[in-house]
């Protein structure tokens, strides 16, 4: 996690993780929330 990478790299990585988290939540909602 410790990184000296560029803003763009961090942005892409954090957003990717967030997209995965949102997809998991979406799965939770559609699989069980119906």
């Amino acid at each position: 996690m410790k990184t000296g990478h560029s803003f763009r790299f961090n942005l892409v990585r954090v957003m990717l993780v967030q997209v995965v988290a949102l997809l998991l939540l979406w799965f939770l909602q559609t699989r069980y929330g119906g």
Partner: protein, 560 residues
């Protein structure tokens, strides 16, 4: 409570305090006391940032919210990762690189002394009060559960925290945060394991049952300014709130000012960007599983034992009648939950849909009776019931095995102490650096400032404990803290954003700040339906617009 549980709590408290005192040995000057000589590794700072934000309110209130309202609260945190990335390239390098002790000290270098003093004063005002609320939240719950006087509960949380924060400074606070995060995570994992063991249905079925009652509905894409927990308010309003909290609030800024370098400070914030949403999801899911557990195991009608006793004395017949109806409704709801599991085994969609609808209807009956009971509580006690905050404490006391009850209570204390310690530490820093050293004794020695800093920490600790004793009956424990902060937060963020625009001037920042707060106040009172999450956006944008216009106007005036 069993002596073994008390032993766990006493061991935890003793360890945190003695370790904090041990760390004070390396703190001989003010830079060490307030900033740990900028020597802490990123993971310590990162855990400290997370522990500071995760208060006892989060641990108790959010699980209760999960049990009663489900997952949708998680939308509140959708803006956090975005805010962390933005801060990593904007304010973190500015603040860490400036060598300032406080965020407000930087504002004087960029703008002027009055802007610094006003923002520092607003911080002291809002955080001084919220420190009291943060102690009050768990203290009220502990008092109600053990039947203690509130003063004793406040002292149990406040005295050890003040002791190690006052003597050990930021070193003690940050390293205590690390241990406190470990205790909190261990307690959460323990509760999850106990729930998995005790649930009479497999976890997948438990999720289907929870889903049938709407508790797994995460996303609300409606764009309405009145609703706090929607996707858009989380992404937009949440980003501004988190930018304000992590970028301009000294209780958080001071955490990453202790990092060895700008890179380490950025990395510490990224830890929250990665872990906050999963952690919050886990806390909410624990609440949801407790709800499912109580579908099969009779819950108390009132989770708050103190209010239960009061109503039982004042209105015994009314309560008995409600309990009788509640018992019948609980049986019917449990039957409906089991019917959902049975219907799913048949794989007949029509039967499943019908069973889920029946469960929803029975759940509505139970909620209706509970609402009547809470109205009775409010009539008898004259105060808001806030029963939601007692759900997990009651579950823990009634259903966790020996030793784990002590671990969970230690986690509640840890969550409270880590947040309060950061608040006291930052309140003391702002008092000494932004007021005492700036206006009263600029030439005094380092040793003098160190002594004054310790006295200031003690003062704020005492102040917070006194506020906690009186703030006990405040409304929603979760929202009060955020609501209070959001009154100033957005406007202060606006000033920091303004500082990154090259031509802006002190007059623009100062007038913009006042205009921002005035507009937020007008919106708060004029349009109370607008969710507090939007106040941050409104405040920040107002400051930016007014600040830029005024600075531009003054620049033209100067040219003429």
């Amino acid at each position: 409570m069993h002596p073994l549980n008390w032993a766990v709590i006493i061991v935890y408290l003793t360890y945190v305090v003695t370790d904090g005192l041990r760390r004070s040995k390396g703190t001989h000057e003010i830079e060490g006391y307030f900033l740990a000589n900028r020597s802490l590794p990123w993971w310590v700072v990162g855990l400290s940032v997370m522990a500071t934000q995760l208060s006892a309110i989060t641990l108790i209130g959010t699980t209760g919210q999960g049990a009663t309202d489900g997952m949708r609260f998680i939308q509140f945190y959708f803006g956090l990762p975005i805010a962390m990335v933005i801060l990593g390239v904007t304010l973190v390098p500015l603040l860490h690189g400036s060598g300032a002790f406080t965020a407000y000290e930087y504002l004087e270098r960029r703008f002027d002394a009055k802007t610094r003093s006003l923002t520092a004063f607003l911080f002291l005002l809002s955080r001084g009060m919220s420190a009291g609320t943060i102690i009050a939240a768990p203290a009220v719950v502990i008092s109600a559960i053990f039947g203690w006087n509130l003063v004793w509960s406040v002292a149990l949380i406040g005295v050890p925290t003040v002791l190690y924060t006052m003597i050990g400074g930021v070193q003690a606070v940050a390293w205590a945060d690390v241990k406190q995060m470990v205790v909190i995570m261990a307690a959460l994992v323990a509760v999850v394991i106990v729930l998995l063991v005790k649930l009479p249905v497999p976890p997948g079925e438990a999720l289907h049952i929870a889903g049938a009652t709407g508790r797994l509905r995460v996303f609300d894409f409606s764009f309405t300014l009145n609703e706090t927990y929607t996707f858009w308010s989380g992404i937009l309003g949440g980003t501004f709130l988190m930018l304000s909290y992590f970028g301009t609030d000294q209780s958080q800024v001071q955490r990453y000012l202790t990092a060895k370098s700008v890179v380490e400070a950025r990395s510490s914030l990224l830890m929250s960007a990665y872990w906050k949403i999963p952690l919050q999801g886990l806390i909410l899911l624990v609440g949801i599983m407790i709800f499912v557990f109580y579908l099969f195991q009779a819950p108390p009608l009132l989770f708050n034992p103190a209010q239960d006793a009061e109503v039982r004395t004042a209105q015994p017949a009314a309560l008995a009648e409600l309990e009788r109806r509640f018992g019948t409704a609980f049986e019917a709801r449990g039957e409906a939950a089991r019917a959902v599991v049975g219907a799913r085994e048949t794989s007949d969609p029509a039967r499943v849909a019908e069973a889920k609808q029946t469960l929803r209807d029975r759940e509505t009956d139970v909620v209706g009776i509970r609402t009547e009971a809470l109205t009775l509580v409010e009539q008898v006690t004259g105060e808001s019931s806030r029963d939601v905050n007692y759900i997990i404490p009651r579950f823990v006391l009634d259903h966790l095995p020996l030793g784990l009850v002590g671990l969970f209570l230690a986690a509640v204390l840890a969550a409270a102490m880590s947040s309060i310690a950061a608040e006291l530490n930052s309140l003391s820093t702002t008092t000494v650096i932004d007021f005492y050293r700036r206006w009263v004794r600029p030439e005094a020695s380092d040793a003098h400032f160190l002594t004054v800093s310790k006295v200031a920490t003690g003062f704020w600790g005492l102040f917070a404990c006194i506020v906690a004793t009186f703030a006990a009956t405040l409304g929603s424990l979760i929202e009060v803290v955020n609501r209070f902060g959001s009154f100033f937060y957005g406007s202060i963020l606006g000033v920091f954003l303004l500082s990154m625009i090259p031509f802006t001037k002190g007059i623009g920042a100062f007038v913009g700040l006042i205009a921002g707060m005035a507009v937020v106040a007008a919106v708060t009172f004029g349009a109370p339906d607008i969710s507090f999450l939007w106040h941050n956006v409104i405040g920040a944008v107002t400051v930016l617009v007014v600040g830029v216009l005024l600075s531009g106007f003054r620049r033209q005036e100067t040219r003429v």
